[in-house]
Structure formats: C-alpha cells, structure tokens
Symmetry: C2
Subunit: 311 residues, 2 copies
C-alpha cells in the first residue's frame, strides 16, 4: 500500500511519515495534502497552554481519555521547548508511550521548537492538516505559552485552555501575561494544593476588568493527577465550542487562521525562493559582507534581493 | 535644523524620532539611514538577557555608569514583554528617567514586544542602526530571554550576558534553556542571597558538559543593587570583545547577523507587497474563506499569492 492508502486505512506510521515529509518541504507531501484536503472533516482544535510543570501533559491525557470513551479519534501535538534541561518533557512522553500511544485512535506527536524548517508554526499547522485528513475528531496542541511564536501557535486553536497552578510566582505570571487574553477556558490544575481558591479569585477579578470580551472564560479547578474536574473541563470546552458554532464565530476564527496560514506559507515560500536565488549566486553572503564592511547600507542591500526575486 | 542635522548634533529627541519613523516604515527614515550609514562607527552591542525579576535593568544601568566614567556614549534598548502585569517594567523605566536619562550621552528606548510593525526584531535592528549613527560606542539590548523571537533578537548582540539569580525554580530554568547556549558571559545577580555558590557550581558543571565551545563563558557573581562585581563584569565583557576581535570572530558574527537582517528585511518587504497586492484585490480574504469552506486547499491558495507577487 502507498502512503495515501495507509493513511486513509488508519495507519499511524503513515500519518507520522506524512507529517515529517511536510516538515521537510517534500513536494510529494504537499501534493498528497492538496489531494486529500477535501476529505477532511474539520477537526476541532483545542490549545492547551501553561508553564512547564503546570501539568499540561497529564491534563491533555485525561481529556483524551474522556473523548476516547465517547469514541472520538484524538490527535495530540506536543510542542517542547528544545532544551538541554527538558528531562521532564522526555519523561512525559515515555509515560504516554506506555498508555495512550497503544490506542490506535490516539496519535501523539512531539515537536521541538527549533530545528524544524520554516519554523514551528508551519510544522504545527501542517500536522493539524494531516491529522484532520487522518480522521481525528479532536486535535490538542499542547505548548508552553511563552514567547510570541508560541502564542501565535496556540492562537490557531478553536478553543484555548490555559492551565495554571495555585501560587504561581509573579515571574511566571508576567511571562504568561500575553496568553491571558487569548484563553477561552482557565483550568487551575493541582487545585488540591493550598491557594487554588485565591488563584481562582485573582483570575476572576482580572476577568472582571476585561468585560469587553463577548465570551467570559470560565475558571475551573481541576486536579488532573487525581482525575478531578476533568468531566467539568470537557463540558466547559464543549460549551465554548457550541458558543463558537452558534454565533458563527467558529467560521470567523478559522477564516482568520487560514488567512494567517496563507501569509506564513507565502512568506515561507518566498524565503525559499530568496535563499535559492541568492545562494545560487552567492549573493546573500556577498551583500552581508559588504554591509558589514560599510560599503553598502542594509536597506539598499535588501532592495537588491527584492528586485532579484521579482524579476 | 532638520532631523539629520539634529541627530548628528547629538539631539536625543531626533534620535527617538528617527527610530519611531523606521518602525513605521517611513520612507524618509530609510533614506536617511541609507545616507548616514557610512558614518557609523560600528558600536559594540551587548545583549542582556534574563527572566523578569533577575535585575537586568539595574545591572544594565550600573554597567552604563561604568562606561560613562570612561566617557563612552551608551544606548539602551529595553524590550518589555507587552503585558497587563508589567508594573515592574514601567517602574524600572521611571527610576531610569530620574537618573541616566538626564545624561545627554545615554539614550534609553523601551519597546513593547507587540504592536511594532514588522515585529520586534526589525524594530530592534533599526534602533541599533540609528544609535550607531547617533555615535553610541556601546549599545545594550535588554530582553527577557524567553521565546524564539526573543532569543533571535539577543543573538544579534556581539556579547550576550545572561543574568541569573540564585535558586531559580526549575520552571524558569527550563524556559530559559534556549538562551543558555548563546550566553558568552553568565552573571549571577543578587549573589548576596543564599545559594549563589550552588547556582555557580551548577552552571560550571553544565558548561563542563559543553566543552566544544571555543570560548568558555565565565560565570560571575554580582549584586547590581549593591554595586558589587560590576567592574569585574565589564572586564569579562571586554575580554570577550577582545577575543572576538583578535580571532576574527567579531566580523564573522556581524556578517552572519547582517545576513539574517537582510533575510528579515527582504521577507518584511515581500509581505508588505503581498498585503498590498492581495488586499487591493481582496484576494487574501477570499482565498482564506475558500480554504475554510474546503473549496480550495491551503497550498494551492498559497501558490496563487506567490504567483501574484512574482508577476
């Protein structure tokens, strides 16, 4: 069987292969997605964001198990900050290997934030496309919500769940501030710890100050490790899903996301063309050297390359 | 006097104005930088990175004071994560206002991570160009080192100082892991606190594992608030500067950075052209809608735009 047949037959290895091919800008992969795109059902994408140690992975796994009970096919894209310290993340994957990954209807993909051609955003969007074709009903994108590129990724989800823990330091709060505004549901994990009520109160007060939002994000206390509050969290996600569907906002979000993807894909292709054309003629290195030696200013150098691409 | 004359006469407001004009893609600003680029001396750029609360701003200020004693002209570009919680950062600026900003040879610019056209990377590089023309001998780029875009910015510095504090939580360590590898000097700030020696030891052990680096980053204990270790830190930075100059690595780094800037500038201009052409014809919205309704796959949509730009 070829990769297309294997993919449509539910072969997870074919799915993994196609995702890798897309990441590597394999022409065959693009052709395959082009061909199969019309078959995809439009999986519902849930972003799970929160700082390292907040228990995102455990929470995602528990949510997945609930969805599996309802016989839903689930994809998980876990974005790990590429890190010499990421022992935790690796361990997380290993635990999953023993458990969910044996399920033929759960597909798990880990991605490093570096090393993927064209960036993590393109790689993640590509993986979502493939998992959609693969027949997933729900796709989780799990990411540490720090840094602009990470925030941009999680923005592509239909529903964004922000995972917090009680008594987070001010540092983390400040770092994560950028994701506060994009959260549709707040989950205070490890809420069996002291301080969960205080964190909930602080969040609610913060939300009171942001009343212009058309949908007020609920704040839930959960304890993923103890399997507490998981059903309620799923219900909150489904409630937000219904809101998006009924208000027409879902389609708007997806149009907005597809527009953003179009810009990124175009940008990516243009960069490829820049690199090809410029590398071919050794131009990029030559211009950079000229700029460094102050024989040429950076903006005139840029004009040279832009003209080359457009000619 | 026009802006050019005022800039060359050392008028800080003209400098601030030109940076804003560049951020807003003002054609006149580009022409001015093109014209004056050849006059710039090639300021030495020092990246200061570290998590919120590590005392980056205080440290930068103390380093600036030492450089001022040697009669050096200094620029500071402070990148703040745009944040509803960033009370700390605002306060930091206010303290500076009362102190360094009165010095005519110290220029301070705060930038938010969002809202700047073309992204923070382009804005920062533009500001460095202007400050170089303005005659700065040293330029600090101060940024929270989380997220890929933030790491990309600090990579443009000649010397990268990573500021840590004793007993940082594992969370922060993991987040910051990506910047560990690009640090040329480590400064353990607030080292009058317990645990500074332990943190130093951990860092040194980590560096032992990374022996392939041609320059081993020194690990210094400082206490910026108490003015301890500042001279030693400057000496470490200068030692790294000498190493870069003598090994020829400085020119290599700058060529590499200029190359990256060229790519980003070109990308930015092409995106501007995409938006102009596509918005003009309402094309981007139309294509995104078609993709959402599954009448068109994303990759064919992208080809349509790429062809438009190249025609």
């Amino acid at each position: 069987m070829n990769i297309e047949e294997r993919l449509l037959a539910g072969d997870k290895r074919a799915c993994a292969r196609l995702i890798s091919m897309l990441e590597n800008n394999d022409r065959e992969a693009f052709e395959l997605v082009k061909k199969l795109y019309y078959k995809s059902k439009g999986a519902y994408v849930i972003g799970i964001t929160g700082s390292p140690g907040s228990g995102k992975s455990t929470l995602t796994d528990k949510l997945t198990k609930v969805l599996r009970k309802a016989n839903k096919k689930v994809g998980i894209i876990a974005i790990d900050p590429t890190s010499p310290f990421s022992g935790g993340a690796i361990l997380g994957d290993r635990i999953r290997m023993n458990d969910l990954s044996l399920d033929k209807d759960v597909f798990i993909r880990s991605m490093g934030t570096r090393g993927s051609l064209g960036g993590i955003s393109k790689a993640t969007r590509g993986a979502v496309r493939v998992l959609d074709i693969f027949g997933c009903d729900y796709i989780f994108i799990e990411t540490v919500g720090v840094g602009q590129s990470e925030i941009d990724i999680v923005k592509t989800a239909d529903t964004v769940v922000m995972v917090m823990v009680p008594n987070m330091g001010d540092d983390i709060q400040a770092i994560k501030a950028g994701t506060m505004e994009i959260a549709d549901v707040f989950a205070i994990n490890k809420s069996d710890l002291d301080g969960a009520d205080k964190t909930k109160l602080e969040l609610e007060m913060n939300l009171d100050l942001n009343e212009e939002k058309s949908y007020r994000p609920p704040v839930l206390k959960v304890a993923a490790g103890k399997n507490q509050g998981i059903e309620e969290l799923i219900m909150s996600i489904m409630k937000h899903k219904r809101y998006l569907e009924e208000s027409g906002e879902l389609k708007n979000r997806r149009i907005r996301n597809n527009k953003q993807e179009l810009i990124e894909l175009t940008q990516d292709e243009l960069i490829r063309i820049i690199m090809e054309k410029a590398v071919e003629k050794d131009l990029l290195d030559k211009l950079a050297k000229e700029v460094t030696e102050k024989n040429l200013d950076p903006y005139t150098a840029k004009d040279t390359i832009v003209n080359l691409i457009r000619s």
